[in-house]
Assembly symmetry: C2
C-alpha cells in the first residue's frame, strides 16, 4: 500500500501525568484516514526541548508529513516553536506578519499585545503560517512539519486548514462485521482469510458486553472490490452473522 505516511508528535506534560486525556490524536487519525494518508506512528513527549528535538528529527526523517500538537502558547512552558527551530537548525524571531495578526486580534478583543502574546508571533525562519480562526495565534509549517496548538478546538481548525494542502492517497476504506463469537473460536478460520487477502489489513477486535463475548472484524484497504470480495468470503465463513 503506497499511501503517503504521517506521524504525530504530541507535546505536553499534562498528557503524560494523566491530568488531560489527549483528544487530538484520535481526531487526526480519523481525518488522515479519510484523506488517504496513513498515520504510521505517534509519540508523546514532555515539555523538554531535547526530547522534542530528538523525537521530531526522528519522525520528520521517517515519514512524509509530521503534525505536532501543543506547546505554542504564551507561557514559559510553551517551548515547541523554539524546539522546532532547534531541530531544523534555523533561527527564530518575532515576525511582522504574525505580529500583525496578533495586533489585530488584540485590538478586536480589547487586549494588550504584551511581551507574552508577542512570544506567539515568534516563528522559525522559513516557516509558513497556519491560520488560527479561533484565537489568532498562528501555527506554522516548516519543511514537512506542521506545528499546531494543543487546545482541541484550535487543533481541529488548523488541521482543517492544512489537510487540503497535502497530497492524499487513495481513500482508506474499511468494512466491519460483528460476530457474536469469542475471538479464540474464529481465529484459525480468520487467519486463513487474512492469508488469502494479504493485500488487505484484517483486524480482529474482541469485546465482552453483558457477559456476551464477541469480535469485530475490520477489513481495511484501498481497493473497494477486494474488500467486497474479502467481506463476501468472511460472511460465507460465518453465515450466522448475516442471518
Amino acid at each position: 500500500m503506497t499511501n503517503p505516511t504521517a506521524a504525530m508528535l504530541v507535546i505536553g506534560d499534562e498528557i503524560l501525568t494523566g491530568r488531560t486525556r489527549d483528544a487530538n490524536m484520535h481526531f487526526l487519525a480519523g481525518e488522515l484516514t479519510k484523506h488517504g494518508i496513513r498515520l504510521a506512528e505517534v509519540r508523546i513527549v514532555p515539555d523538554i526541548q531535547d526530547r522534542i528535538v530528538a523525537a521530531l528529527n526522528a519522525l520528520r526523517a521517517g515519514y512524509d508529513t509530521v503534525f505536532t500538537s501543543g506547546g505554542i502558547g504564551p507561557t514559559h512552558d510553551d517551548i515547541t516553536a523554539d524546539a522546532v527551530a532547534a531541530a531544523f537548525g534555523v533561527g527564530i524571531d518575532v515576525r511582522d506578519d504574525a505580529c500583525a495578526i496578533m495586533q489585530d486580534y488584540c485590538d478586536r478583543m480589547g487586549r494588550e499585545l504584551n511581551e507574552a502574546r508577542l512570544r506567539m508571533a515568534r516563528i522559525p525562519e522559513g516557516a509558513r503560517l497556519i491560520d488560527n480562526p479561533v484565537s489568532a495565534a498562528p501555527g506554522f509549517t516548516l519543511g514537512n512539519v506542521h506545528v499546531m496548538a494543543g487546545v482541541p478546538s484550535i487543533f481541529q481548525a488548523m488541521v482543517a486548514g492544512v489537510l487540503p494542502t497535502l497530497t492524499g492517497g487513495d481513500p482508506l476504506l474499511s468494512q466491519n462485521l460483528n460476530l457474536q463469537r469469542a475471538e479464540g473460536d474464529i481465529a484459525v478460520v480468520l487467519g486463513g482469510l487474512a492469508a488469502d487477502f494479504s493485500d488487505l489489513s484484517i483486524g480482529s477486535y474482541p469485546y465482552q458486553r453483558d457477559g456476551v463475548y464477541g469480535t469485530n472484524i475490520v477489513i481495511r484497504g484501498t481497493d473497494g472490490a477486494r474488500i467486497d470480495a474479502a467481506m463476501a468470503q468472511l460472511c460465507a465463513l460465518f453465515p450466522e452473522a448475516v442471518a
Copy 2:
C-alpha cells in the same frame, strides 16, 4: 527530580486508523503518577513486527520500565509476543504453565483449547507471567518490559497486578488554581513564578468556556512544602482567584 521513569508502547492499527480511541495510555499515566513513577514517553505503532521491535528496543534502553498494550490475543494480527521475543533475541514457544491456565479457563467456560487459544500460551524464554483475572490469557514480564492486553478491562487488571511489584518514587503531587484570565495576560508573571520555583513543574492550560477565557495553573513536584509555597505565591499574585 529522580523518580523512576517509564515509557509506554501502544500497539495497534485500530488506534492509528482512528477506529478506536485509546484509553489505556490515560489510565496508565494516572496510575504511574500516583505510584511516583514518571511516564516519560509514549509511542504508538502499527501491527508490524519491525516497527514494534525498533520502538521497544529504543524505549527499554531509555527508561526504567516499559509497558506495552495490545496484540496478545489469538488472531493472526496479534504479533506482540513474537515481536518482544525478537527484540530481546530470545526464543518463544507454548509454555506449560501458561497452557495450564488456558486449559483451566477453557474447561470452566466450556470452550476448546484450540490452536488459536494455544497461541496465547506462547511466552518468550525467561519471561514471568502476568495474571489476567478477566479472561485468563496471561501477559508477561521480560527484563524491564511488561506486556499487557489492549482490551481496557484486562489492561487495567494487569496494571493493578504489576504496579505493586515496581519500585515507586516519592508521590508526584500537584495543586491546581483556576484563573478567569486569558493566558496571555498572566504569562509574564507566571514565568517569574516558574523561575523562582525551578525545582517544580508549573503548567499553564488555557481554555475557553461559554465565551469566557480562563487558565488552569498546575504546580507539580514531589516536595509538598515547596508546592505549598509556590501556590501561596501564586495566590498572592492573583488574589481575585481566591477571593
